[in-house]
Amino acid sequence: MTVTVDVTAQLIAQRIASTIDPVFAMIDGWRDAVERAIATEPEPRAATLDPIIAALVAPELERPGSLITGAGFVATPGFLLDAPWHLAWWLSGANTFRAAPDAGLRRLDAVNDPDSEQFRDYTTLEWWRVPERTGTRHLTGPYVDYLCTDDYTVTITTPVMAAGELAGMVGTDLYVARLERVLLPVIRESGHPCSLVNASGRIVTSTDPHRATGALLRLDGLVDALTPLRNAVTETDAAVLPSGATIVPCGDTSLALVLEG
């Protein structure tokens, strides 16, 4: 079904996509670099891979004004010879998770021992499960990430392959508060009551002060209209709900603009 959509709305959706696309491009770049690094490595080890990951993510984590607060590589269990479970994840100075005063760029202290009470099997988490199944990039959240950033977060992950097998995920965390600061001025330009939602209909930010970030936008037919965003990776057409609200997908970000009234 093709719907005629306000040109401004289309434009705003594109601008939201173009705010997030550089983050996608950056992660794709990391994926390519990690794939190249492990392709030449018959016996991949954390000891040799970790410095490579650090060198990839550190510049962006330390760049002033960067949107991201955490980034790195998470290995498929058993892929690395010297570390069955492995998170090579770095946090920026802006990340407050268990930060000492004046903390700069630092590595996430992850529990990699499956016998420990604190151990969490990361392959059960959405940011691993979904890209593992679809074989492509996934935007998880907004959600409270109590394992990694300790804050309200969006995580973007993409699979890293080695000889046709899943070697792990590269990814990054963004604070929703920062994302809102960047995206809210953009959606305000629509002149309509307008909300940005994820593929589950959860509000990322809204021009309506009574629509809280994190709440589900409950509109008749919205969940069905968003189904293609949950499944497909290609761009989806706009749709109109029975209430008259228009859903405009933001490029291939899996986010959508909902214009009411």
């Binding site: 300790d150 959860r202 589900l216």
Partner: protein, 274 residues
């Protein structure tokens, strides 16, 4: 006498050093004790080294060392020397039971009720908001946490409650509620859910969990909150009954003492004679 002057200055410096430093070892010790008793830190688990502990808790190395020594004295930690050495949690069931009983006795009813009220405020609100904000995936993960619950042991049942309540807080989408939930679990979890010693209460905790999931699925925030707070209230009622039982069986400070049976009772009848 320069040395003497120097010494006196150092002593003066201690007198006027920040008071914050005092009692820090006790705070570290209390936090680790709570974590061991609650089963957050498990039997045989290696604790971070003195310097790692000091760094992560933001205290001096001597403070961390002092706290570890007290834990060793209490029999909660064992230190091994050598290549695979370090400090390890020794989760002696009897020692833990004694320690928890002691805490139940030491805390007044007012404190226990206040603690449960504070926790109910956090957990109840989290459940209420979660019922409004849960996606289908969120409901599914709550169902999975419930299915993995081990109700055959008190520790298993307590951990299941902890996991479930933490997920509820996460589903509420509030970082602050998640923080508070984690903090209160570490601080009071072992005490509040002591009723899990009884199979009947473990089964009830499962019933409460299933009803909260139903309320969330049906988007009934009020019901999710009510079931959560009632569950917590029933736990504290059990706890206070247990306190009465403990006090009746062994008056505080009466270990080995053979005074007249009425004496300790009279002591505790506060202002009864006035």
């Amino acid at each position: 006498m320069p040395q003497a002057t120097g010494r006196s200055d150092a002593t003066r410096a201690v007198v006027f050093s920040p008071l914050d430093a005092a009692g820090r070892a006790e705070l570290v010790e209390q936090r680790l004790t709570d974590a061991i008793v609650a089963g957050v830190l498990r039997d045989g688990e290696r604790l971070p080294s003195e310097s790692e502990l000091a760094r992560s808790l933001g205290v001096a190395v001597v403070t961390a060392r002092e706290a570890l020594e007290s834990l060793r004295d209490k029999g909660l930690v064992l230190t091994r020397r050598g290549r695979d050495g370090g400090s390890f949690v020794t989760h002696d069931r009897d020692a833990t039971t004694r320690m928890v009983d002691e805490r139940v006795r030491a805390q007044s009813r007012i404190e226990l009720r206040d603690l449960s009220l504070h926790y109910a405020a956090i957990a109840g609100m989290a459940a209420e908001v979660a019922a409004d904000r849960a996606s289908d995936d969120d409901v599914q993960s709550l169902v999975e946490i419930d299915e993995r619950a081990d109700l055959t042991t008190p520790g298993g049942a307590r951990r299941a409650v902890g996991r479930f309540q933490l997920e509820i807080a996460a589903v509420s989408q509030s970082p602050r509620l998640v923080h508070e939930e984690l903090r209160l679990q570490a601080e009071t979890g072992s005490l509040l859910w002591l009723c899990m010693r009884e199979q009947d209460y473990r089964d009830r905790s499962r019933q409460a969990r299933l009803e909260v999931i139903e309320a969330i699925r049906a988007v009934e925030p009020e019901r999710a909150r009510r079931v959560t707070t009632e569950h917590i209230a029933s736990a504290v009622e059990w706890l206070i009954e247990e306190k009465v039982r403990l006090e009746a069986s062994e008056p505080p400070g009466a270990s080995g003492a053979t005074g007249p049976p009425g004496a300790s009772v009279a002591e505790r009848t506060e202002g009864g004679a006035a």
